[in-house]
Symmetry: C2
Subunit: 150 residues, 2 copies
DNA sequence: TATTGTTATACTCTATAACTATA
DNA sequence: TATAGTTATAGAGTATAACAATA
């Protein structure tokens, strides 16, 4: 690696891209494996449910915009989530064209369960590291976060 | 955060999962945006091409197994790649049921181009960081790599 | 008979276009 | 007229089942 690469981060870019992509894929897989009890939610359904759980209440249009899907696609996602009693639809208080979506208790439980399951694997792996290695990752996390902004 | 969480990495698991997943998604998106010159390869097509570029020569069955798709799906992927002259099919030397796939020069160029494009974005972002931040990431990369093993 | 690859067909997910109800 | 949501329909991607060629 040349000094200029060292400074600009070209060599670092290669190793970081590989390690980040691999770990992310591993985390994604880890979400799917267990948990055959609950309905098999698709990525979009799970993401929409998690967004709703975080934001509290949104209209279908807002949710579609947030999840970067078109409104008709969100209609189908909501229909599935509503059928499984994970979200609830209520009339908008002032505008009768709109619909207000909220997460049910069951939906909230499912979001938490999936979140815990995803993190359980990673937490186990982190516990196997040395304290110094964990400190390095703790310092790196906000920098990684900053990289993905903008 | 409690001391035990600090030691086991449960709190760290949350922040690290979020930052790694976000950055990986950002890197994936970065593959799509520019490059309107070449054919728009799907994720699976690009992954199959990259695997073939790395391994040199495989049969459709081996490639399907490696990419975790069923053989009929791989048949269609190969058909598209062959139509764009990115891979070449040759008869197997001894078993006439089998087919041997190799990457063409054009396919190899495309793999390299996409790989460079993905890294260019990250290298630009890394160059905006302070030397200390880059040093932290350089230390973190092998630890992230270790986490994704096993 | 078993195996490799392909063709036929169906399902899931998402998109665009057209429609309904309301503002 | 414009907007929110839905319904109708089409396209991309992948799966299983059935088939042809070869071992």
């Amino acid at each position: 690696m040349t000094p200029s690469q060292h400074n600009s981060g070209a060599g670092l870019a290669t190793t970081l891209r590989i390690s980040v992509s691999r770990l992310a894929r591993r985390l994604r897989v880890e979400r799917l494996e267990p948990g055959l009890a609950e309905p098999a939610l698709s990525d979009t359904q799970l993401a929409a449910l998690a967004t709703l759980e975080r934001h509290g209440a949104m209209t279908p249009g807002e949710l579609a915009e947030h999840e970067k899907v078109q409104p008709p696609s969100m209609t189908r996602v909501i229909a599935a989530l509503a059928e499984w009693q994970l979200v609830r639809r209520a009339p908008h208080p002032s505008d009768r064209r709109q619909v207000v979506l909220t997460v049910t208790d069951g939906g909230r439980d499912l979001v938490h369960k999936v979140r815990r399951r995803r993190e359980a694997w990673l937490a186990r792996k982190l516990a196997e590291l040395s304290p110094e290695e964990r400190a390095t990752l703790r310092a790196a996390a906000p920098i990684l976060e900053k990289l993905s902004q903008s």
